[in-house]
Symmetry: C3
Subunit: 345 residues, 3 copies
């Protein structure tokens, strides 16, 4: 990858790209994004959370992206939008030094099998490997050291960062982002036991990722035993996540870091799993479910809402006493019932 500087825009260009109303000098040039507190005079800042309103009057930013109702105390030019957080997202992509750079083509040290099909403007980084029968859509970027296995398909505009592994036959949609160290399509964990030892069940299914999926660093999505592991469109998966064979995740769901989902569980659309959440196998989680961090879900969920398990941290001395009592809890409940009966009797 070649180096590239932060893009430069005039405020007029930014307003037009963001669909924002500009109050200020349309020709002023800006070249970066920062918080209200840290922005310098060439940068744009944003106000998307009332908690930072106190920083607005003193900002040194060239312009501030904000809701029209907060314009008055702004000492700089204003980019007014009804949803400034969405505007911040758009702005961050416009001002990303990595966006819009020219593709570098196939590096001399990359190994591309002659039977692979490469679209227009494809980039394959140094030491990367593209195996037989692979199809890379237009504008695909495969980072250095990444490996794309036999017959895998990567949709247009997708990007594999460095040292990503996409295994044989995996199908990846368009505009997908795979971060370094992630593995898509390793074998699911399937063995038959004969009473004394394990026999491997070959994992003959694949993995299908929809469009606009993102998978974080060092996450793994295992291939199906027979059918495919299915990740819907616009599913966002953080780092260190494990998705077992034949799991299905509905569109627009988001999984935070360290989530683990066991085999054949189906997660609905618009679900959000907090960091470290575990789902047992063969469950069905309906649309619109949120599970808070480090909860364990062992039963299917049929009603949207927020779910939790576990206990929050406390001082160890206090915790020890309570954790011992947890082991007596059934006994405590029974003793309480007896007392109640005694009173009533």
């Amino acid at each position: 990858m070649t180096r590239r500087d932060t893009p430069i825009y005039t405020l007029g260009e930014l307003a037009s790209r963001l669909g924002a109303r500009l109050v200020g000098d349309a020709d002023r040039r800006v070249s970066g994004l920062a918080t209200l507190k840290e922005a310098g005079p060439d940068q744009v800042a944003f106000l998307a959370n009332r908690a930072y309103l106190k920083d607005l009057p003193d900002t040194r930013a060239a312009a501030v992206l904000l809701h029209p109702q907060h314009g008055e105390t702004c000492p700089a030019a204003r980019l007014e939008l009804d949803n400034p957080y969405l505007g911040y997202a758009a702005l961050s992509r416009l001002l990303d030094p990595l966006a819009g750079r020219e593709p570098a083509g196939v590096h001399l040290s990359a190994v591309v099998d002659p039977s692979a099909t490469l679209g227009e403007r494809v980039e394959v980084g140094a030491s990367a490997v593209i195996e037989a029968g692979v199809i890379l859509g237009d504008d695909v970027i495969v980072g250095p050291g990444s490996v794309v296995g036999v017959d895998a398909v990567i949709g247009a505009g997708s990007r594999l960062h460095a040292n990503v592994t996409v295994c044989h036959g995996v199908v990846i949609g368009e505009r997908v982002i795979l971060h370094s160290g992630c593995v898509i399509g390793g074998d699911g964990f399937g063995f038959a036991h004969d009473g004394s030892r394990w026999h491997k069940i070959a994992q003959l299914g694949g993995v299908v990722l929809g469009d606009d999926v993102e998978v974080g660093s060092c996450s793994s999505i295992d291939r199906g035993a027979l059918g495919d592991t299915l990740i819907g469109n616009d599913v966002k998966i953080d780092s260190q996540v494990q998705i077992a064979h034949n799991v299905q995740i509905g569109d627009h769901s988001a999984l935070a870091g360290c989530v683990g989902i066991a085999g054949s569980t189906r997660v609905g659309r618009h679900c959000m799993l907090g960091g470290g959440v575990g789902l047992s196998g063969h469950l069905t989680i309906c649309d619109g479910v949120q599970v808070t961090g480090m909860s364990l879900v062992t039963n299917s969920i049929t009603e949207p809402g927020v779910y939790s398990s576990g206990t929050g941290a406390m001082k160890n001395a206090q915790w020890r006493k309570n954790a011992v009592r947890f082991k007596q809890l059934d006994d405590i409940a029974k003793r309480l019932s007896r007392l109640e009966k005694g009173r009533d009797g």
Copy 2:
């Protein structure tokens, strides 16, 4: 790796390889494996779980692998076996398109140190690195981008998928499978504290993996501080698992995804650890122990059986009230005791 089609067998060949009794046309050719519901007329299906018996009468499969007692309602040829789930495992391996392919030799872009010893039919993928003194047994496959460190030994028939790392001096048995992104033999986490800062303890031990071990994507097994970290024969390790220095795992044990085992803990034979289970350091877990998902084990276990900790998920509003009460649990128990004494007194 080159592409390969699903193998084709006659039913007679399959019956012979599986040791099954065939009821049907021995010359019929089949070329794939699927569920009863999804199998097409060229494929074999299987019935290993009564829950799917309802799908048997309508299957379009060419043949069904099943227990003799279920043969009657089968509309297709039958491959009868006393343990159809084991039969399914064997069948999946026979019909795996990746099985039995010709090894591709050492890729031109692979870097193999002249002092390394390679057995017969060894394959080393593109951009892979084999360092000095390494010994690769017969039929070993090292996937693209994988690195085998100085003096490591890989037993016959073992396979490293893409982007695997085997560190210096690690010893790996025969028929071992290492999935992409896993790391065998990184340093254990050892430091001495001088009251103000940490001093590294060089990790001088190694890792020894027995025969028929499998390690999932992105899992890590750390090298020992002095002696070796020891993984027995036929131990199956899922994805995202962490095994710390000097851990010992007995033969035939299975560890599901996201398990973490702290230093010097010994796990017995035929143990099963559910997803996300954590074992503290310096414990001894006897043979035949099962621990359910996301449980924390902080004491040694001396009796076979099933162990659990934690609480299952519930609605967040309900959970909040109960989690607060957990912090009062010792107090609740004491108050209950006082009430009981009051009644008796």
Copy 3:
């Protein structure tokens, strides 16, 4: 990497390097480190824990590193130190076969961009990739298959093992050790929701690692959204750890395996997080906090000390009863209060 034998020292040299008092033959040559029980006549053993005092009289070691008070029953030469555990750490580094080897230079198969700056005695392994604008300090080792992204800076004496990924613009201090499979600087998990779908927030910040940091196998440290993710000096991070965007970790803190820290949380100096601990986002944890294994911390901690959550494992049959009662806990507490009032009333 080339092979190298365990270094050989005389006891006199070792005493001098360790600052130990030698009782025994200064010219005796030793070449390895082992436990009291396993050390052979060419090796040094150590006694840093009273639990092993029973092994001292029978050791076959050439010399034993120990506290002066334990010298009497030692049958071998003695290296006496007030802190033998620290001495063991120093000794392990002296006797590490990998220490002190000659750097191998830049491998022919490595890809180093012409605009990268390499210090003295830098080693870049086979198939490694150094992108444009990278600066590698003196004595840096980049292992085979590792990738260092555009404009990243690696301080003097740092070592990246095999298949490490350091993303663009990341800044790494001196004497840092990064183990295989770890990823420094992948994107943080940032998206804005428009009511129906996610919009990516480009992660424009970086990651800064201080001096003497160590990061374990398969761990990930995400880059900041705007500012940087900051890891202080002498911070030790084990395997399979996830550190989200804009987290800050104070100097000398240690994080055991499988820890997960959500975005923007600040951890103080000299903190210790046990295996599998989870910290929610936007918390502040003060200096000197210890959290025991697999605890979930959802609130800031302002007082040093030991914190815990969860429940230890018990037999599943017992656990089931108690876990059901946990869901009734608020009800139990209320019933108890009613009973108490009844008694008092």
